[in-house]
């Protein structure tokens, strides 16, 4: 199982506890985790279901640069962290 965690900056808008979902590619993992809180999806994805440009997704310690395809394969015990990118002022 893959663990998906949403940072407090997202959870202050829509609560979502860490989710344990089946391994697969990153899009499937994120979509599966967001089934627990569908209202959180528009905070993570834009209208075209791409990761918002000011949201950052980490797989373990690595920042995922791809925001569109999200076809990176995740393995069991991987940890996905979704945070707000440190942009703006």
């Amino acid at each position: 199982m893959v663990t998906v965690e949403f940072a407090s900056s997202l959870r202050r808008h829509v609560e979502c506890a860490p989710q344990r979902v089946q391994a697969g590619n990153l899009r499937l993992v994120l979509e599966a985790a967001l089934l627990a809180a569908p209202e959180l999806a528009p905070y993570v994805f834009d209208d075209q279901r791409c990761v918002r440009k000011h949201v950052a997704v980490f797989v373990n310690q690595d920042l995922v640069r791809d925001r569109i395809r999200l076809d990176q394969t995740l393995r069991t015990d991987d940890h996905v962290l979704v945070i707000q990118a440190l942009t703006g002022g």
Partner: protein, 368 residues
């Protein structure tokens, strides 16, 4: 007592008062940019559009005067086609900003319209629980010629429903002119004849599809009378917006963003002039409002109580609003100023000079 909603860069403020006695009563969405507000005249519901820097445009609704807010759906574009004429559309199919919100007529309960940036028009028939893009206007090939006006993308900031027929829509776009639909958005007509964009190449100055109306308002009791504060001056129409007459620039300037008009008197409107597009602050640092009482033939300069010097406020397009009493006028600025006039602009009272930049104002209407 009257209630004014102030949508700012750092939240939604609620002011209540009368005359020169006003107090801030509440601060909602503290710290979040609020881009538009609506008090639904049909049932008193409040709507607040947010533009979260990281998480996009959101819409919240309150049915109890702001005591409790619930997030509802935000307008969103459908998946962008990968084939066909829209496949190469350079405009992102992502709502970045909800710029205009309008409640439909009493005969269409639950129906709302939202104009956005990029300039998509969206309709909700269930009080904001869901939204659908108006594809007729969005897929019009002329839409691809629209430009951003000081923004990356074109935006729909003005959205008017004719009081005689809620299926008759008029929208204004920066920069995409004025469009009308008489059948609730099924078909559209471009109606910006008479407007002139003096910065465009010769031969294109009067292209109706390239005009930059900054704000458009409509006289409720004489709906064929509309006013526009345009990038290049002031326009008025007396035929429902088909043809626009250029109003000679008043002193001190014809440049600005905001316009408000009297809902009963078709000859009366207010403007908040700035020096020019290159100098977006009051002429000479002296803040004024201008008002015409004769359809634009003459203007009265209103400055009593407004900053007289060293003032660099800019009034955004939704930041001058007339209350339902037709006398109380509210004015706010990008520099955090908020003023109220109880007498149609003759005398102004400063409520604050310390607010965040203000994007929009909305009067709470008595709906009972």
């Amino acid at each position: 007592m009257q209630t004014l909603l102030v949508a700012s860069r750092k939240g939604l403020f609620v002011w209540r008062g009368a005359g020169d006695q006003w107090k801030m009563r509440a601060h909602h969405f503290a710290g979040e940019p609020v881009t538009q507000v609506l008090c639904d005249p049909r049932n008193g519901d409040w709507y607040a559009a947010l533009r979260l820097g990281h998480f996009g445009a959101k819409l919240h609704k309150s049915s109890d005067q702001g005591n409790r807010w619930t997030e509802v759906a935000s307008p969103a574009f459908p998946p962008k086609p990968t084939i066909g004429p829209m496949a190469d559309d350079p405009t992102p199919w992502n709502v970045e900003l909800i710029w205009s919100l309008t409640a439909s007529g009493a005969d269409q309960p639950g129906t709302l319209w939202a104009g956005c940036m990029p300039a998509g028009l969206f309709k909700s028939e269930d009080g904001g629980r869901s939204w659908a893009l108006n594809t007729s206007l969005w897929e019009d090939p002329r839409r691809l010629q629209w430009m951003g006006g000081g923004n990356d993308y074109p935006g729909m900031h003005s959205l008017l429903l004719d009081p005689r027929d809620a299926n008759h829509l008029r929208v204004a776009i920066s920069c995409g002119g004025v469009w009308q639909s008489r059948n609730s958005g099924q078909t559209w007509e471009l109606t910006a004849d008479g407007m002139k964009a003096d910065y465009l190449p010769a031969g294109s100055l009067q292209d109706p599809n390239a005009q930059d109306p900054h704000r458009m308002v409509q006289c409720q009791s004489h709906p064929d009378v509309l006013w526009v504060q345009h990038h290049c001056g002031i326009y008025r129409s007396t035929d429902g917006g088909r043809l626009w007459q250029d109003i000679p620039a008043p002193v001190p300037s014809g440049f600005g963003f905001a316009v408000a008009c009297d809902p009963q008197d078709p000859l009366r409107a207010w403007f908040a002039p700035a020096q020019s597009d290159m100098h977006r602050y009051p002429v000479g640092g002296k803040m004024v409002v201008t008002r015409t009482d004769d359809g634009g033939r003459s203007f009265k300069l209103l400055d009593r109580g407004l900053p007289a010097h060293d003032a660099y406020h800019l009034v955004y397009r939704h930041s001058m609003e007339l209350a339902p009493d037709r006398q109380t006028l509210a004015l706010s600025s990008t520099t955090g100023g908020l003023w109220i006039s109880p007498d149609a602009g003759e005398q102004w009272h400063c409520l604050s000079r310390d607010l965040p930049p203000v994007a929009a104002l909305g009067w709470v209407r008595d709906w009972r």
